[in-house]
């Protein structure tokens, strides 16, 4: 069989049957019992499952505890396995859907489309594709109840929530605690959730999940929504786009390459893949490529920047000259609520190693200059219920409308999976989430403004939407880190 070509859902021709066959396959898979690995419920539960959630009510008989331990609640988040695990997951899902479509009398070359919501050249790129909203959940298998996106006042994903700024990160692996989240996330073992999310995982992945909302807003139910798979196909595509930019490469660490994960192929046979087996998409199961994304050779960086509305950093990895060091912290946990909250963070002088590192380093390095990046960390973020997204602003004037101070916004805390990450279980340590926002650029602007104080930074967290009555969010600690490095050619 020839390699599948995953196409943009936004560019499908009017007479293209990709989505109509997808809808038929979804309906067929929903009719299978949850004990069948080819069923919709089973596939979704491999990502996340919690019997107590309303979306899982009425799921019917479920597999044995042993099978659930082996195959359910396996999604990798807050980990350098986030990208490869989801690539494997999508590949087996695509295989099952494609075979189901063949069984229904459809074409043999069906492939999973992707949703490129970051494409600024296409109108309506940030609204849910029409096929997923038409009709009702009863009449259209692609439509599910409870999504927030598409409601009045929330018709499209805000542009900053689909930013591709993560492509600027040149290193795949996160720094040590407090520093860059890396493009692909921190080194971990098997990591079902919690912890520090990587750059791409945080934005746009997490943001798109929570902005769509409903079952998509919780990792334990997200894969029950048919749009989940198109969203993740896009995240998978962005991994290849990132590699194509040049100066970026996947980890070569043995623990990453040799890690394997368990799945089921069509028909229910147990299967497993190692990370090293999915680095070339043409070799994953029957193989696939993304339309307009070459597997070899670069991409037109200018075209990508224009389409995504970003400026990408120069290639070449950062050569660290010292680990990230803490410059200050907010000394108490913060309970976030329905109102904006401002707290002050005392900044201390950088310790001697950081100050000395730059001058002592660089010997033998073909460097293009020192870089000091500054990061704001939100650690041990825990909560319950459906928490709102919090936008983070620096030195926001008292009483000012955050909306007119976008230049002071350093990012958002999506809270994707915060409830799950807050409860100790077989899959989570209960430590909550950890977000890292790079604030280097905003700080450099603020420093040039009157009233800047070297010793203090005000951090304001603004909830984007109303907070549900039963929701709670606590930030265990806010801390400021700096890291010195040199960019290698």
């Amino acid at each position: 069989m020839s390699v599948r070509v995953r196409k943009s859902v936004l560019k499908l021709a009017d007479n293209d049957a990709t989505l109509s066959w997808y809808a038929k396959a979804v309906a067929a898979m929903r009719n299978r019992p949850a004990t069948d690995s080819g069923s919709w419920s089973y596939q979704a539960a491999m990502h996340g499952f919690s019997a107590g959630l309303p979306a899982w009510q009425g799921v019917g008989p479920i597999p044995s505890a042993n099978e659930r331990t082996e195959y359910w609640n396996q999604c990798q988040h807050g980990s350098w396995f986030f990208l490869p695990w989801h690539r494997m997951y999508l590949a087996y899902f695509e295989q099952i859907v494609a075979r189901t479509i063949v069984g229904l009398g459809g074409p043999a070359d069906w492939s999973l489309p992707y949703w490129d919501y970051s494409d600024t050249t296409l109108p309506n790129a940030r609204t849910l594709p029409a096929a997923f909203t038409t009709g009702t959940p009863a009449s259209n298998p692609l439509n599910v109840a409870g999504r927030q996106l598409g409601r009045p006042g929330n018709t499209e994903i805000p542009r900053r929530d689909v930013s591709l700024v993560a492509l600027s990160l040149t290193d795949y692996i996160a720094d040590e605690h407090g520093g860059s989240p890396g493009f692909g996330g921190p080194r971990t073992g098997f990591s079902h959730g919690g912890g520090q999310h990587g750059g791409l995982e945080q934005l746009p992945h997490d943001m798109v999940h929570v902005v769509i909302g409903g079952i998509m807003g919780d990792p334990r139910t997200a894969a029950l929504d048919p749009i989940f798979w198109l969203h993740h196909a896009n995240i998978d595509r962005l991994w290849q786009v990132w590699l194509n930019l040049g100066g970026r490469r996947n980890p070569v660490d043995t623990p990453w390459l040799n890690m394997d994960f368990d799945f089921h192929s069509f028909g229910g046979a147990p299967a497993a893949l190692k990370v090293q087996q999915v680095l070339d998409t043409r070799l994953v199961l029957s193989g696939y490529v993304y339309e307009d994304v070459p597997i070899t050779g670069g991409v037109q960086q200018e075209a990508l920047e224009a389409a995504a509305g970003i400026t990408l950093a120069a290639g070449g990895s950062m050569k660290s000259v010292a680990p990230p060091v803490m410059l200050g912290m907010v000394d108490k946990p913060l309970a976030l609520g329905a109102a904006a909250l401002t707290t002050s963070l005392a900044i201390h002088n950088p310790p001697a190693p950081l100050a000395a590192a730059l001058s002592a380093s660089g010997v033998g390095l073909e460097s293009v200059g020192p870089v000091v990046d500054t990061y704001l960390n939100f650690e041990n973020v825990k909560g319950d219920g459906v928490a709102p997204i919090y936008d983070v602003y620096l030195n926001l004037p008292a009483g000012a409308d955050p909306g007119i101070h976008e230049e002071r916004c350093v990012g958002s805390l999506p809270m994707f999976g915060v409830a799950d990450a807050s409860i100790a279980s077989e899959h989570q340590s209960g430590s909550g989430l950890h977000y890292v926002l790079c604030i280097t650029d905003v700080l450099s602007v603020l420093r040039a403004q009157p009233g800047w104080q070297d010793s203090q930074l005000d951090v304001t967290l603004v909830p984007r939407t109303a907070m549900a009555a039963d929701a709670t969010v606590t930030v265990g600690r806010i801390s400021l880190y700096a890291k010195a490095g040199r960019r290698e050619r």
């Binding site: 407090g178 098997f190 310790p351």
Partner: protein, 263 residues
Amino acid sequence: MAYVLALLAERRGWCWYHPQWWVWGAALSAWLVLLAADLNGQGRLPAGLALNLLALCRVPQSWALDAGGLWLPLDAWLGGWALMLLAMMYPLLNDNLRALAFASPWSRRHRAMVGFLAGYTMVWLLYALLAGALLLLCFRMLSGALLAALFAPASIAMVGFGTAVAWVYTPMRRRALVACHAVHAPLGSGWQADCACACHGLRIGWACLRNCWAIMTALMLTGHGLPAMLLAATVLLWERKHLRHARHGVAACWLGLLLWSST
């Protein structure tokens, strides 16, 4: 001279990235002490250290030595446990310690790790005290014949490693294994931060105890040798590092130890 300075600078840089280096040093020292004791005739430590720490990790044998008195030398008992803890458990804390060090202000990195280890060690030593008390109770209450039957090497191996194998398959252990990876960003400074680090150590210690109590107790009860300790430590380290629910592999290793101890 320049080369030496550059080398020292490089080493210093390495230590910046691996502030937990001295914990590995302590663990290595513990292994060397155990090895020396093992090589120095029947597991006895060199003269001057009157107590046979290695043998005291082996309850039946040590008890046989003290059968007349039926008492437990507390300092040696806890010393033996501490040595096992240093050698086998401290390496498992590599990621916890490193994360805590980087989550602390630069000047507090090592102090934070010491506080953490104090809390962690306290949990295990309390368990050792409890286990010792239970054993004392057994020896004082049970008859000689029953004791001999219960503490026969084959019975102990069967019960000890059998329990360890069964424990691997429980949800409680899976929960404990995941909890061993909990992270905590300590707040405050001075004693407040010390307490936060010690409390974090207590929490991780409790998770680690729930995870490893069965195999550690089995090793202690069966009069294990260094190879068994080394194998168990390697398996636990591998499991901790990869954090897979690879129950079957771990259970197979404990089963191997069972067979080994029974023969």
